[in-house]
């Protein structure tokens, strides 16, 4: 009888190991895993820091003006393109197409807006260092809004004079400024810009900058709301099982996400991004010119006309992001911004130029880890099975949540 028990022991050990594994796949998390889960919860998000470069950032009147400007198509070359054309409120401020379309077709996928006030750098290559500086780029892009800064200054004077002057300063006399002039416009607009006096150029640019600052005051109020994942973390970190919040499949995907799949190497913190730039070997979009991503973006932001260090910043003294920036490093070649994974399942297509159509295809890319077209991919093959990938995808869908504007669900937001 004794020998019988002894002989059974290995079988029992294996059995209990299997049982333990099954339990751990439902809701048994180690202390370290619980700490990781907590670090990903939206409840860990710190209060939004002040933007010292934008004195109007937390001015509600500036935000109200910015919201109107966000939806105003008069701020474009053809009167048909607003910021909301690509960043559509009913689509969580995105456009769901591979390449953004303004007055023309851009070379990049439209980026989400939610929580970008918390990002040190904006655009896929991080060539801007604030929301307001970012907002100015598309306004002067030939394929996005396509207009000129003189045109926009006139639009403010014609339609928003009172609101503008209540937030910023009296508008300059624009009577001698042509209706279209700017350093980045077509040949006629650039010629008109060079004919302006330095004083006129500064006056026009100041209005243009304040448009960006008002839009940023609105956009910094756009945040992510809690998802099912956040509910689950709140439950399991307070000792509850979390049953019924996430399925077994989703929990298994979460376990892979924070474990073997190494996703949290880049997608960490409550926004599921480390805000850095990485080459993950994503191939360029066929037929599009290739670019070197952060390698150029890092240099561009250092020399940007509207950077933290520029004369247009309300705090030029301290710009730590620029002061300690890594630039001219080969690791930046074809490195792109790590996007937040919140609401990622609603955001197809994927990658910087919408090259990858589905979430499943994105996961397949990370699992295969192909070599980069240029530079060096930081990925390595994960060796995950189809079922693993399916579970991770199921988990990613639990990150869907509302987009919140001023504390209200964006689809219910009062205009």
């Amino acid at each position: 009888m004794t020998s019988k028990l002894f002989l059974f022991t290995p079988g029992l050990v294996v059995l209990s190991a299997i049982t333990g594994f099954a339990l751990s796949n439902s809701n048994q998390w180690s202390e370290a895993e619980l700490a990781t889960l907590q670090s990903l919860s939206l409840s860990e998000l710190e209060p939004l820091a002040v933007d010292p470069t934008n004195a109007a950032a937390d001015d509600t009147r500036a935000a109200a003006l910015g919201e109107k400007l966000f939806f105003d198509a008069r701020l474009s070359a053809n009167g048909a393109v607003a910021r909301a054309t690509c960043h559509q409120r009913d689509k969580a401020f995105r456009d769901s197409i591979p390449l953004g379309r303004g007055v023309g077709k851009t070379a990049k996928r439209t980026m989400p807006i939610a929580a970008t006030a918390r990002a040190p750098f904006l655009f896929w290559d991080g060539r801007k260092d604030s929301q307001w500086a970012q907002a100015l780029g598309p306004l002067e892009s030939a394929v996005e809004h396509g207009g000129t800064r003189a045109q926009y200054a006139h639009a403010i004077a014609d339609h928003y004079r009172t609101e503008y002057e209540s937030v910023f300063e009296p508008l300059p006399d624009l009577s001698a400024v042509p209706s279209s002039a700017g350093p980045a416009g077509n040949e006629a607009a650039v010629a008109a810009w060079t004919r302006l006096s330095n004083v006129q150029r500064i006056a026009v640019t100041r209005v243009f900058v304040n448009i960006g600052k008002a839009i940023a005051a609105y956009e910094r109020r756009i945040e992510f709301g809690p998802s099912r994942f956040d509910q689950y973390v709140a439950a399991v970190t307070s000792g509850q099982p979390g049953h019924g919040i996430l399925s077994g499949e989703e929990i298994a995907g979460l376990r892979l996400f924070i474990g073997r799949a190494n996703c949290t190497q880049c997608h960490n913190g409550p926004l599921f991004t480390n805000n850095e730039f990485h080459n993950t070997g994503v191939p360029p979009r066929p037929g599009m010119p290739t670019d070197d991503g952060r390698l150029s973006g890092a240099t561009a932001v250092l020399h940007d006309e509207f950077s933290c260090r520029s004369q247009w910043s309300d705090s030029r003294e301290r710009c730590p992001e620029l002061e300690f920036l890594v630039s001219r490093d080969h690791a930046l070649n074809r490195a792109y911004k790590v996007p937040s994974l919140r609401n990622v399942a609603e955001r197809a297509p994927y990658m910087d130029a919408g090259q990858v159509a589905t979430l499943a295809a994105v996961l397949d890319h990370y699992n295969r880890a192909p070599a980069a077209a240029a530079g060096h991919s930081e990925l390595w093959p994960l060796g995950l099975k189809a079922r693993d990938l399916h579970q991770i995808e199921a988990f990613l869908r639990t990150l869907n949540g509302p987009i919140v504007v001023n504390g209200h669900n964006s689809t219910e937001a009062v205009r």
Binding site: L7, F8, P10, A17, W380
Partner: protein
Amino acid sequence: MTNTKHTNRLQLGSGIVVFLLAATMVSAADHRNLAATMMFRGSSGAKKPAASEFGLGPRISASGRYVATLAAERQLRPRQMQTVRVTVIDGSGQPVDGATLTINGGMPQHGHGLPTRPRVTRSLGGGTYEIEGVRFNMGGWWEFKIAVSFEGDTDIVTFNLGL
């Protein structure tokens, strides 16, 4: 009795089979981990040091010239731009002022460096220097290396930090 023996043999057999199966599974998992480690680009099989090797110091430099101790305003956290102070003393316990400090580091197991270029922005005297622009972009084991150049010699102090 014969029947019992037979049953015991069967149980022994099935026990061994299950045991071998489990051993194979463990071995396969090890192999997979090893394969994953080998495929880490630039990892060169870096092994995480013992817990006693972690922390803010004091740490002795590679050639034993200096002892350095880090101090952080608050607990070091991922994704935040932070400022730290380091105090450097020589073998006789005297503070080392006027040295040039160069900061480097990264995640040995992931093959990447620091995401920013931290540097000394102030010398506070008493061998203490302020280092600004420190950021770690994920949790885990980070190396934070301070090369101390003083009177023509350079020696490196390596801190292992667990974020």
